[in-house]
Every structure is written in C-alpha cells, then in structure tokens.
C-alpha cells in the first residue's frame, strides 16, 4: 500500500469520526427536533458545532473521492470501516461510554476485515477513457 493510499485512508477515517462526533454533539445540544420544518434544519446548520461537523464531513467527502481515485471500491469500503473501531475506542477511553462485549466483538471483526483487505492490491479494475494514471 503506497503512502498516498495510507494517508488518504487515515484522512477519511479522521474526518468521518470527528465530523460525526461534532454533528452529534451539536444536534444533541439543540434538543430533539419534533418538526420536519426546513427552517429548523436551516437553524441547526448554523449552530457552531453542527457547522464544524459539516465542514469536517466535506473533508471526508473530498478525501473519500480522492481515495477512490487510487483504489478499488471493494478495497476502500472495508478499509474505511476502521472509523467504527476508532469511534468505539474513543467512546470507551475518552467519553467513558459503556461498550458491550458484543460491540467489542464487532470492533475486533472489523479490525480483522481491515487487516485482511489491506494486504490486497489496492487497484485491480480497468481505468476508463485511457490510462491517466502515472
């Protein structure tokens, strides 16, 4: 796995975990949204935490698209599931959340999946419209 792929995979995981964290903190601080009125959603978007979450998730989208320019979809999907592992570990260590034995089993299974797939060739699919790859 080359350094571009490693770096982009880490960026995808980082932006995913932090983006979802700030989005969730912001939405929780706003309280339950009982109506589906567009104005409520627009107001929510301008909450600083929600806004930070959205900016981080835009970073996630750009890094995910960049990673897909280097690697197969069947490589990217399992590798970026590492975000679930990081979220569970941070939840347990930083936020002192209770993580059940089943959840730890799930985390371990995802870790095994990431390890297995990371040892395969990142790009196997043919490149359309001629080879633009260096």
């Amino acid at each position: 796995m080359n350094w571009y792929i490693r770096g982009l995979a880490l960026a995808v995981v980082f932006f995913n975990v932090t983006g979802n964290y700030f989005l969730s903190v912001g939405m929780r601080s706003l309280g339950p949204m009982i109506s589906a009125a567009p104005l409520d959603y627009i107001r929510a978007i301008f909450h600083p935490m929600v806004l930070l979450g959205i900016v981080l998730l835009i970073g996630w989208l750009i890094s995910q698209l960049s990673l897909l320019s280097w690697a197969d979809l069947t490589f990217v999907l399992p590798i970026t599931a590492l975000a679930y592992v990081i979220a569970a570990v941070l939840g347990a260590l930083v936020l002192h959340e209770h993580v059940s034995a089943w959840r730890w089993t799930g985390v371990a299974l995802i870790g095994i999946g990431v390890f297995v797939v990371s040892h395969t060739k990142a790009r196997t699919a043919p490149v359309p419209n001629g080879d633009k790859q260096p």
Partner: protein
Amino acid sequence: MSEKWVYVMVIVACNATGDLLNAYGMRQQGRVMDFHPSALRRLIRKLAHNRYVIGGVIAMAVAFFALLSLLSIADLSFAIPATSASYLIETVLAKVILREEVHWQRWLGAFVVAGGVALLSI
C-alpha cells in the same frame, strides 16, 4: 412491507448507487496527487462537471436523509445491522459492474466487516 424496510431498501440502494458512481467517476478523473488548497479548489470545480460524481453525491445525500428518517421511526439497533448489508451488495456490484477483481481476501473482508458492523448495535 413495513415503512421501515422501505427506508432500508432506499438507503442500501442509494448507498450502493452513490459509491459505484463515485468510484467510476473518480477512476475516470485520474489519481488525485496534489492536496494544496488551490489544487483542491480546482479539483472540486472539475468534479462539479463530472456527471458520475454529481450523481454519486446526490445518491449519497438521498441515503443520508433516508437514514435520518429511518432513525426517527426505528432504533439504531435496527438501522445499523439492516444497512450493513451494503458491504456485501456493493462487493457483488463492484465485481460485476466495475469489473474489480474480488479475490477470497476481499470477500472475507466484506463478510467480516459486515458482520462486525451488525454486531456494533447490540
């Protein structure tokens, strides 16, 4: 069929469509190697004209709002395992449509990760 399963089908279908279109569009785009802010701005402008990536982002947005709607009528413990099937469905579609070489390690990875994600909600 209950409303919950309709949402699950919409989420899985839109996630798969979005990922397939983005993967195809980005393969066509060529490798992204420059990550300076000005280069990223140029990339975003270029991607705004890539119909596959535009379609992919729209499909992902529909999946996101369908997930929010599903979470308003169902628990996370239903939503996460039900949508973890995406990993297996997308592996099949990537092999057939994108012609990716899916060897046993990738099948194993997809099954193990899907199982792991399903267990996360217990």
